[in-house]
Symmetry: C2
């Protein structure tokens, strides 16, 4: 009997703490596909200096596909009741951002699915499974263009991440109320991969593909973070047809939009979120107060144009200690609930929970 009651108590405790992982995840459908992509004809690359044994021979040039965007999705059984959500990661990261947290907790991707939302994760163009255009690298190796024309490959160091992601005032020292699971910082560092956005044309194919994805989904909420924080707005300014809502998390905002652009954005509900300790970072990465100010200005501009834009400053709501990585912080599901409630009210126009 003791064992049986013990299991019951465990189940109840799990339910109380919202540990939904103990319940099976039931999906109507999952899969992956690409959005966008175009043909590029390449000259033959130079042969490798030392071919790998058993490896393929040098490839004789030809056509490659560039600027495509990899998207994976999961649709819960009650997914048709809700507007799909598209999540796009930030600098030097991939869609891993939204999955299992560095310390092994539930990520936003699965949490949103468990809340009946169809979820689409996109790897930015030129990153991770979306690939990148390698032609410049091979042209420099072949000597046809100078090394100075190599794109800058951005790779954030552990030290830069500690500061930019606001884990603490100096490297290795966390804020006393820090919400990021700093003991698992090494697992975050493994998520950080080279960023080749410098090879991309403007407007970024990621923006164009995000707009096209929203149209393909017959309406979607676009969520961006950090480097991609303003991408939902950029996508909507390219084609607003599918963009039913925007969630912009922790980035600098553009404050020089034209009236016609603001008018487009004023037709879409917009939520901007910022965490804590914006002004508490020492050293060269102390740009968060400026980013926050720019977004307050942007929110006011959209509101003045008649839009439904909202700045959600977590510390002003009494939620303290959040880092730049809201989706990985220890209170990540509480923050997800704030977004879900905002979507219900502002995008899906349902009664407040």
């Amino acid at each position: 009997m003791k064992t049986r009651y013990g299991i019951l108590a465990l189940l109840l405790a799990g339910a109380a703490a919202g540990q939904k992982q103990s319940k099976p995840l039931v999906l109507a459908e999952q899969g992956s596909f690409f959005v966008g992509g175009e043909n590029k004809t390449l000259p033959a690359p130079p042969p490798p200096a030392s071919p790998r044994p058993g490896g393929p021979p040098a490839f004789p040039g030809g056509d490659i596909t560039i600027n495509q965007m990899y998207v994976e999705y999961q649709i819960p059984v009650n997914g048709s009741r809700h507007v799909p959500v598209v999540m796009v990661h930030g600098c030097c990261l991939s869609s891993k951002t939204w999955e299992t947290t560095p310390d092994g907790r539930l990520g936003w991707n699965e949490y949103f699915v468990r809340k009946d939302r169809p979820v689409y994760l996109a790897d930015q163009v030129s990153r991770a499974r979306s690939g990148f255009d390698p032609s410049t690298f091979n042209a420099v190796k072949a000597g046809t263009i100078p090394p100075s024309e190599l794109p800058n490959v951005l790779d954030a160091s552990h030290q830069a991440a500690w500061a930019i992601f606001r884990f603490g005032p100096t490297y290795g020292k966390a804020f006393p109320d820090e919400q990021f699971p700093v003991d698992a910082a090494d697992e975050l560092y493994k998520q950080m991969i080279p960023d080749l956005n410098a090879v991309l044309p403007m407007p970024s194919p990621t923006w164009t593909n995000m707009a096209a994805l929203a149209v393909k989904l017959k309406g979607a909420i676009l969520i961006g973070h950090s480097e991609s924080g303003f991408f939902p707005e950029q996508a909507a300014m390219i084609d607003p047809a599918g963009v039913k809502g925007i969630v912009s998390i922790e980035m600098p905002c553009v404050t020089t939009l034209k009236p016609a652009e603001l008018s487009t954005l004023a037709k879409i509900p917009i939520l901007v979120m910022f965490g804590d300790h914006l002004g508490d970072i020492e050293g060269p990465f102390n740009f968060w107060p400026g980013a926050f100010d720019s977004c307050n200005t942007f929110v006011k501009q959209v509101s003045d144009a008649g839009g439904d834009a909202q700045m959600m400053s977590l510390p002003k709501m009494g939620i303290k200690g959040n880092s730049h990585m809201l989706m990985q912080d220890k209170n990540n599901l509480q923050l997800a609930d704030l977004i879900l409630a905002w979507i219900d009210k502002h995008v899906e126009k349902k009664a407040t929970r």
Copy 2:
């Protein structure tokens, strides 16, 4: 009434054809994590020639993590009854290989899960969400090493893929009995991304990480394909402790293993699979007959050492027209069933189906 019977007929037809997608997918658990990874200290990279507006400032060097391997997994509710399966993709591809096929059908990843197998997909080290070491690129850009020291970035063209993947004898012309969905070849080309394996040390960290993953899972079956086809064997030769079975698909085999290495592999059930039209490709990529021969030699060497190794040549079994991309061919689920039956019999030692 006509409509009701029509739907019933459709449901029955779907069930008969094994279109399990119409049934919800029930998972006990899913998530992602990294295996391996090590610290590397970098000099400061050069500042970007034209910083992006709103982008982060140049990063001042520091430590980065390299050689980590991204792994995502899904465990079905009855998953504990079976040995986990690890799938590793080939050259110029990512784990997308195993997901939704280019023409939108069920991939092996979900099919294996629906057959109660825990499935782990790994992006090779230096590819996709595993990232890569960018330091050589930035050193060449900074002028500290010459352009000739740039690694070769391998990017297979559409033309090379058509030949190497054996879609037809010449580009754009398919074999009459071709099993690859060539009408959707453009969607495969979007999966093809730059391959930076040339930056990796030897033994490849992917091999080491695959062996470590098998240990972490307390036993796993390793599946490799093409470039990674022999990776399961390489992993087992590094540490056989977790490797309960090996499936090697379409690659050249190493035929110069030492007796001790063959002895290690002889303790692990090994399945080698090859498709059709091995000798029917014109041009520089006609290396499949040699690869097939090398694997027949390898299988004989393992068998002579007392092992359970098997060559499964699909055309010799009467299954015709398969390309190099067995997991994406039109009969991909039939081929998956062959692997599942082999696992049941040779790895899990269950009665034949």
